[in-house]
């Protein structure tokens, strides 16, 4: 009788252990699902995937090291701002995202100090050039533009798989589609790419040497990378579809203008930052109109 009781209690214990393990596994799965459901975290996961694929070039570790340095610097500076402003410390997904983009755009051969400075400039801009809690300009684009202008930082856009064979850009597009779907920014991406390629087509028919450059790798990879992973940043771009279409059109047109005026690497970043400025300006005008209407 006693033996039977012991056996049944053992079975019960075993069952409870199994169910608790299953519960834990389910909890982990739910947590993972929740983590990736947030647009920023999904974007982070996508960029990490691109980093891993992009690392399959001649010097795989150098790219990852650049990303790690950029991420560590961004998170550190963001943490300093959080503590100094006495805000609640939470998972720094914004800073992580900024660091990842910087690391994936800067050349793997960039000096360490350039990577650190770029990350610092980006996070300082994020916390100082803002409207309420939202940054006006895409922090990573801002940091990259300043570092390219003042420190001549090399930008290879290797996150857009520029160091891999040309066909690999298809993978960037596929991952980019998932991101655009998650953040609901398809109109913006299509408007940007549509107008960008339309201008490109016009210059192709005009036999422009500039079009011949832009249509190939690494330019095409950097354009795709910017369209899906930088242009779609929710805090610095509009939510309404109509505004998204205008935003994309401004980014594409100003990118081409800056390409002809300045050339070099920064034309896409300039286009993005100008459209960020437009987004802020229109939201400011709308708010002041509303205030006048209420008054």
């Amino acid at each position: 009788m006693q033996i039977n009781n012991e056996k049944s209690s053992e079975i019960q214990n075993h069952r409870s252990r199994v169910t608790s393990r299953n519960d834990k596994e389910e909890n982990v799965m739910v947590k993972l699902k929740k983590m990736t459901k947030a647009p920023k975290r999904f974007l982070i996961a996508s960029l990490i995937l691109l980093m891993l694929v992009g690392s399959f070039h001649s010097e795989p570790l150098s790219g990852i090291v650049t990303v790690l340095i950029a991420v560590a610097s961004s998170v550190m500076v963001d943490l300093i701002f959080t503590i100094s402003h006495k805000r609640k410390i939470k998972f720094p997904d914004g800073a992580l995202l900024t660091g990842l983009i910087i690391g994936l755009v800067l050349s793997p051969t960039s000096p360490i100090y350039v990577t650190i400075l770029t990350a610092i400039i980006a996070i300082v801009a994020k916390h100082n050039i803002k409207k309420k809690y939202k940054p006006i300009f895409n922090p990573a684009a801002f940091g990259l533009l300043i570092s390219a202008s003042f420190f001549s930082s090399g930008q290879s856009w290797w996150g857009g798989l520029t160091l891999l064979p040309g066909w690999s850009v298809i993978l960037v597009v596929i991952i980019g589609y998932f991101v655009a779907n998650r953040v609901n920014k398809f109109p913006q991406v299509f408007s940007f790419l549509g107008i960008y390629f339309l201008i490109l087509l016009v210059f192709t028919f005009l036999n422009s040497q500039y079009a011949e450059l832009v249509i190939r790798s690494p330019y095409i990879n950097s354009t795709i990378f910017l369209a899906f992973f930088m242009l779609t940043d929710p805090p610095t771009s509009p939510a309404k579809y109509r505004d998204q279409i205008i935003f994309g059109a401004i980014a594409a047109t100003t990118s081409w203008v800056s390409y002809f005026v300045f050339g070099g690497l920064t034309f896409l970043l300039i286009g993005l930052l100008i459209s960020n400025g437009w987004s802020y300006w229109t939201s400011y005008l709308n708010k002041s109109k509303k205030r006048v209407a209420i008054g």
Partner: protein
């Protein structure tokens, strides 16, 4: 509330497919057009090259005899002054800077000191060794990084020009 609903509404799948097709066709048309133009340009360029090759061969044959006597005296002369010289080359995609070290009148070392082109520096990492081996800025054009190669050549030429005795 209605505005929020509007914002949360996602783009129609058919519309996504349609836009993708339109954008892809724009890109592919531009791409095929550039292939045609570059093919035309390269064929005319190769025609020009063949023509100029024939002309230069004639010139070379004529001047060979004169040079044979001159070369004996100039081969031992130093072409460059010893020292470290800098040069840079730039075009629409960025710039490349180099430092060229001259020892005993010949190119001993070439270093890329700065590279801000759209193409990674790793593309042209092999070019400095070619300059040392060939004792000339005439390096092989790196496929996929033609403009970076041009920048590099211009930079080396500039450094060598300032090193000339």
């Amino acid at each position: 509330m209605s505005e929020k609903k509007k914002n949360s509404k996602k783009m129609n799948k058919k519309m996504i497919v349609l836009c993708t097709a339109a954008i892809s066709s724009l890109y592919l048309t531009a791409y095929t057009e550039t292939i045609h133009t570059s093919a035309d340009q390269s064929s005319s360029a190769s025609h020009f090259l063949n023509k100029s090759k024939v002309e230069t061969n004639k010139e070379v044959n004529e001047s060979k005899q004169d040079n044979q006597t001159n070369n004996k005296t100039t081969s031992n002369q130093r072409v460059y002054k010893d020292g470290v010289y800098n040069g840079s080359g730039s075009n629409h995609i960025g710039s490349v800077s180099v430092s060229v070290t001259i020892k005993n009148g010949s190119i001993a070392k070439v270093q890329i000191t700065n590279c801000t082109t759209s193409y990674s520096k790793s593309y042209i990492d092999g070019l400095p060794d070619q300059v040392v081996q060939r004792q000339s800025s005439q390096v092989d054009v790196v496929s996929g990084a033609t403009l970076s190669t041009e920048d590099f050549q211009t930079a080396v030429d500039q450094a060598l020009a300032s090193a000339k005795a």
